[in-house]
Each structure stands twice: as structure tokens, then as C-alpha cells.
Symmetry: C2
Subunit: 438 residues, 2 copies
């Protein structure tokens, strides 16, 4: 077990509404009425901290989305995480910030300020954003092309890193008879790029962590290359262990080729867990959520995803045979996921709808704490993951189950920390503090 | 005293570093080492809340400034106010947000999110920003012209108000068998302007206050017009009662001409106070801070402000005669302030340096709590102010002095609240919640 001791597991809690199952909010006991209440998010962060998780994480988007179908965006992540940082002491706090819609100065400043407020616990999930509906909220007619978005993101990250490094660590003198800060340790960056012109210096001193931790989640060619060059931790999508190993092997090799240490960059696939004291109890939890899906809409949506008329499919019968991937003319990614779920899980129609409604292409583990710990250990030992981005199907119950039942099993097996060994997110992830350029 | 009972006083605490006196940080007991510590700002907000003040307020800038001379920017205001909102229950929280550097969607979203986090206590001080050094951090070569900045600000405010109103108050149904929110109550705004194109809707529901309270501080013609049309509370600069009355009369008339109720818009000049149990003790506090100013630099700076060689002026002698305003060829505003201070206060050179280092053109009141309450009442009764934006020369002592000694005198005289009558900033300011457009 030496490998695990050298590289212990990492867990992030991916916070989203009432949970990652689309119907979670429909449960009578769901916190639907609390999705705008900061105290709800503070409680989730405290639960995650009780479980010694590395961080909590918010995705982000810049368009309102389908408000009828369930909770979508509500609080803006940076403002929410500031409050959550004051309700916790050790856990990391990761915010998605778009390199397409912010200026590098805003992003660097907001994240640096949060790193000071939280005492060095901030991570930045760099995204380029995707939807024209988002672009049209920020003055674009449509999203820039994929390649341009990534070129812009590369330069954006470079400018932000420059701004974070514009103050030396020793800048403050507090010399009451002399200078407050040393102007020689506060330098312009004079960034002159293709997309951004930024003089600097930042008007926030160097972050506690030097740099807040850079997260990335690209699966495209350019996304993987950006991750290889820049990411310090990576969120991934992997349906099963073989696909996780493929991604893991590919990205670790890219990191090595980029001249960096692949061992230092944690790869964390998304993970949906249903935990029960017996396997039956776990399955019952899953069935209970699946039963909450509005049937007609779900079948109609499945019809769009599969190019079939599903409206009269029997919910409790096995999924009918579907044409092979080659014959499918719509978006292939999701269709491939559907075929894979059918092949490996032989679900009923209702179960398929449930799987698509909770995590989709992400790995789902259903069982006892020991069974789930077994599979986590398997992914970890066999080169599929350095940890997981937890996507509980329902909140707060799903994270409580993980923290109270799965974490102790992992601790007993020596796979997870028994206390926080550090005070910063960098520390939790085993990442060094970057030296100052000054 | 009927007038005061109808329009009680309003007070904001303007938080800045170790206080508004440039040398405050040099005092041995100053919190210089804490200007990046969120707990320091939380404590200031709690002190202001103990004093039942309407709000705390942050200015903002987008360039690092003179780091040698004292604390300047450190924490970013929106992230800081989120944490401060969780350390308090009732007090308002006002952030400056630049209409030149943000997009309306970002500004609307961040402020709306904070309004939810704080339970309806957010105010927005709309500024257009001023300095090329700030512009060059956000990709401009220089600041847009004054007129363009204000035209842009007008449209920016319009777009932000539209976004805040894009969700109806009754949008949420939480209907577990039906819809989470009613899509008919979440509408695009389709803003198509000269400067901004914003589809909407916002991805944050309607703020608790409907709109966070709009503050403005313009003194130029365009600034006063923007304030007259849009501001719900106004920060002002007034050296003495006559100049306060001039500004107050002019802006209230403009508000009336804009078709709004002048009585609903509080005008709050900046106010620097030195409070002592005797007038001598108050003067001693002022002298103590003034004595901390580095003499050579201050005299050199005064030389620039006055176009004189001040380097050998006797610090403890009266200020030598200066040429009249008409003969001065540099920036006239500050020179006029200097002439006015000399004429009305007959200061020594050191006292003049101190006055310029703490508030400059703002009103300064030095004396016992009763003396200061007298002057506050005088400004209030005689049409100079509806309240004040408190600029304590040193923090935290300056606000503690005001809260513990001046507030009780004002309460005894029936000029200030004895408890909060409302839970929102709108409520504290007597402003109605704007009805939804839906």
C-alpha cells in the first residue's frame, strides 16, 4: 500500500443546488427553499470539512438556464465562497471563473482577495465558458470559437499569474517611521499580449498561497494541453475504470511532456455515490430519487438524446435495443454514454433516466461504505484517479453519507487523512508554495 | 424638532485602511499589520452596527497607488463585504463598483448575490473611475473622456436595473410535482444600447431589496445630473455649512426637476471627527496624529499644491501669506481648499498639513460629543445634510469614539434612532422597495 501512503486520496465536494440528481429538489425533504440561503452552503462546507475533504467546489455559468426544471445558478460563487470561508477553518474553496467573460485584473484581484480572506484556501477552476446565451449577457454576439477561447485562456492565466506575482512576499514593512510597503517589491507586469494588455501591479498583495491553486477540467485536445501546462489539479469525467485509465494515462503523459511532475497534479473524476448500510438500502435510495423524475418530460428528452420515439416505453422494462453509435446522427458523446450504461448496467427505462439525471457520463457507485471504498481504492491503485470530485445525487444527505460512512472506512484502510495536515489548499494537495519572482 | 423626527439622521462609516488621516498607520497602536485581515473589517462593521449606523462603505480603485505612504487598497470590497455581512445582522453594506471596468451583468450579479447573502443590506456606490493607471489594468490605453464615462454610467445603471428586475418576486414555486420556478416570471431584458448589449435574464433571482440601494457621489455637472435621476443616497464633499447648503440646495432642486421626491434622497457629506471628553483632549488627538506626518515629504507635497518653496517653513508658525486663487496656475480645487482652511482656521503649518492629510476638503469637527452633536444638528436643521459619511481620522478608535460618545448625545436629542427599525438598508434609509415590473 506504499503508493497510497505517498499519494493519499483527494476529495472535493462539488456543490450544486439540492444535489446532482435532477429530481433531488422534488423530494419532500429536499432543501429546495434554501438554495438561495447562504447558511445552507455554509452548512455543506462545514460537513465537508468535518469529513476532512480537500475542498468544496462551485461550477459557474452566465445564463439563467432552465428555471422550471430545478435549481440552477443562484448565488454567485466568489461572493458565496467568501462567506463560506468564514464559516470554516481548513477546507479549500474552489471557484470557477471564466477566462472569456472577466478581465485578468478582475479575476486575479477577486481570487487574491479571497485567498487573503480565507487564509490561503482558494482554488480557481479555469473555464472558457460554452454557451452563446452566456456570451450575449456580456456583449458578445456569440461565443468565440473553441480555439480562440483556449488561446485566450492561456494568455489569461499567464496575465493572472503575473499579477499575483507583482507583489513580493516581503513587500510590507509597516515601518511607522519609514515606508508602509517597499515600492521596489511592487512592480508592474506590463503584459502585452494578443488578447490582453495589463499594466499591473495588482492592487491586492501576493496571495497567501502565492498562487491560488489552478484547477482545470478540459477534455478536448486543447483543454488537455492547457491542463498539462498549467493545471495543479484536474477535474475529469470518467464513466468507468478503463475510460478513467485512458484519460489519466494520457494527461499524466502530457504533463510529463510539458516538463512538469505528473505526480504533483491530482486527477479527480466526478463521482456519484448512493451509500446504504446494505446494497439494497443504497439501491433503494437511488430508486427513490429516480421515481421523482417527471416521466413524460424525461421520456421526451430521452427521445431527443436517442432519436427514438420513447413516449410509450415501459418504465419498468429493460431499455429496448438501440441502433449502434455509427448510425446515430445527433451529438455522439451523450449517445455513447447511453449505449455504455445500457451495455454495462442493463437498466430498466426508469433506471436509465435516473442515471442520465444524476451525473450522466460520470462514474456512479452504489453500495455499502465498504463496497464503495473498495471501488475507490481500485480506481486509485489501478491508475484511474488520484481522488474524486464528489457529486452527491442529493444534498445535504449525500455528502453526510459519504463523510460519516465512507470516509471512516477509507481512513481505516490508510487511504485518507485522519486530520488536516495543512492550513492551505496547496497544503492539502501536497503542492509547494511557488517562490516569488522578486 | 418635528423636521428631525420626520427625517432622522443617517450615518455611514467610510472604512479605509487605518483611518482617513494619512499618518494614522504610523501611530504605534495602529492596526497597520491588520489591513489585510478580514477580522479587522468585521470588527469595524460590528462597531458601526453597535452604533446603529445605516451602513459601512468601501471606496474602490483599480490601481495599486502609493504603497510606500500608507495602506491603500488591499481586500477587494465585494468579497470583503460578503464576509462582513455574516459577522453582522442589520447594518447596510455599500460597495463602490465601477461602471467603466465591469460589465453590467457582472455588476448586477455580484451585487444581487450579495443582497441575498446579506438579507437585503447591500448598496452600490456607482463610480466611473478616474485614473489612466486603472484603465491600463483593464485593457484601455487611457480613461474614456469624462462625458463618455458618464454616458456609459447612465446606460450601465439602466442595464443593471433591468437585470435586477428580470425575475419576478413570485418566480419561485418550489412545486415538487411541478415547476421549480415559473419561466414566465424570468424574462430577457434585451438591452440594446450605445455601450452595452445584454440579453438577460440575470442568473440570480430578484434581490431581497428589489434593487440594492444606489449611491452616487458626483460633484461635476454630469455627476449631479446622474445623481438627480438615479441616486437613492448621495455622498458629498462640503468643507463648511455654506458650501454644504449650496450643494444640498442645488442637488435637491435637480432631484425635484427630475420628477423625484427630494425628501427621499439622503445627502451625506463626508465628516472627519476628533472626539474628546474636553475640547483640549479632542485637539490633542488631532495634534497627535498631525505630529506623525513625515515632515519633509509633507512640506514638499505642500510645495506642489501651492507652487511655493515650503521646505524651510516653520512647522509651528502660522502659514505664510499665499497668492490669491486667481494667480494660481495649478489645479484650483485643492488650492481653494487650502486658502479656505487658512482663512477660517488660522492654522500653523503643521496643522494645515494635518488637515490636508485627513479629509482635505471634507468638513472636520473637533470637540466634545456635545459640541460635535451641536454642529451635526446645525447642518441637519439648516439644510446642509441629511446625514454624514463618517471618515474617522484613525480606526478603530475614531469610530468607537463616535459610536460610544456622539451617538448617545444625538439619541438623547431625538436626532438618531435608538434601535434599528428595519432589516434592510432600504429600510434604514426610509426607501420603499421598488415594485417588480412583472
Amino acid at each position: 500500500m506504499a503508493a497510497q501512503e505517498q499519494h493519499p486520496l483527494h476529495f472535493n465536494l462539488f456543490i450544486f443546488g439540492c444535489g446532482h440528481h435532477k429530481a433531488a429538489w422534488r423530494h419532500p425533504g429536499s432543501p429546495a427553499e434554501r438554495v438561495g440561503d447562504i447558511a445552507y452552503y455554509e452548512e455543506l462546507a462545514r460537513t465537508a470539512e468535518r469529513g476532512l475533504l480537500d475542498a468544496v467546489f462551485f461550477a459557474d455559468g452566465h445564463a439563467a438556464g432552465d428555471v422550471a426544471g430545478g435549481p440552477w445558478w443562484f448565488l454567485e460563487p466568489l461572493t458565496a465562497l467568501s462567506a463560506m470561508s468564514r464559516a470554516t477553518n481548513r477546507i479549500g474553496l474552489v471557484s470557477t471563473v471564466s477566462s472569456t467573460f472577466y478581465t485578468p485584473f478582475h479575476a486575479a484581484r477577486l481570487l487574491a482577495s479571497l485567498d487573503h480572506i480565507s487564509g490561503g484556501r482558494i482554488g480557481w477552476n479555469v473555464v472558457t465558458s460554452m454557451f452563446d446565451s452566456e456570451a450575449r449577457n456580456h456583449g458578445y454576439e456569440q461565443m468565440p470559437e473553441h480555439a480562440e477561447r483556449y488561446a485566450r485562456a492561456e494568455e489569461f492565466v499567464e496575465a493572472v499569474l503575473g499579477l499575483w506575482d507583482s507583489w513580493g512576499d516581503e513587500a510590507f514593512h509597516y515601518d511607522r517611521a519609514g515606508v508602509f510597503a517597499d515600492p521596489d517589491l511592487v512592480r508592474p507586469i506590463d503584459h502585452r499580449g494578443e488578447y490582453f494588455q495589463v499594466d499591473g501591479p495588482l492592487n491586492v498583495p501576493r496571495p497567501v498561497q502565492g498562487n491560488p491553486v489552478l484547477f482545470q477540467a478540459g477534455s478536448s485536445e486543447q483543454g488537455r494541453e492547457l491542463a498539462a501546462r498549467r493545471a495543479e489539479a484536474i477535474y475529469a469525467v470518467a464513466y468507468d475504470l478503463p475510460s478513467a485509465q485512458d484519460y489519466y494515462g494520457d494527461v499524466k503523459a502530457r504533463i510529463r511532456r510539458a516538463g512538469r511532475d505528473p505526480g504533483s497534479v491530482a486527477i479527480m473524476p466526478g463521482l456519484v455515490t448512493y451509500v446504504g448500510s446494505t446494497e439494497e438500502e443504497a439501491r433503494a435510495k437511488q430508486d427513490e430519487l429516480d421515481a421523482l423524475l417527471p416521466t413524460a418530460e424525461s421520456l421526451q428528452q430521452l427521445g431527443l438524446f436517442t432519436e427514438q420515439d420513447c413516449t410509450d416505453w415501459d418504465l419498468d422494462a429493460p431499455v429496448p435495443d438501440l441502433p449502434p453509435l455509427e448510425e446515430f446522427t445527433g451529438p455522439k458523446g451523450r449517445y455513447a454514454t447511453i449505449l455504455r450504461i445500457i451495455e454495462s448496467e442493463k437498466p430498466t427505462v426508469r433506471q436509465l433516466l435516473g442515471r442520465l439525471a444524476a451525473g450522466g457520463g460520470h462514474c456512479t457507485m452504489v453500495g455499502t461504505p465498504e463496497q464503495i471504498a473498495d471501488r475507490i481504492a481500485e480506481w486509485h491503485e489501478q491508475g484511474g484517479a488520484d481522488g474524486f470530485n464528489l457529486m452527491p445525487p442529493s444534498l445535504p444527505g449525500g455528502v453526510e453519507d459519504f463523510v460519516d460512512h465512507v470516509v471512516p472506512v477509507l481512513q481505516k484502510r490508510g487511504l485518507f487523512r485522519r486530520e488536516y495536515g495543512a492550513r492551505t489548499l496547496r497544503g492539502h494537495l501536497g503542492l509547494p508554495r511557488p517562490p516569488s519572482a522578486h
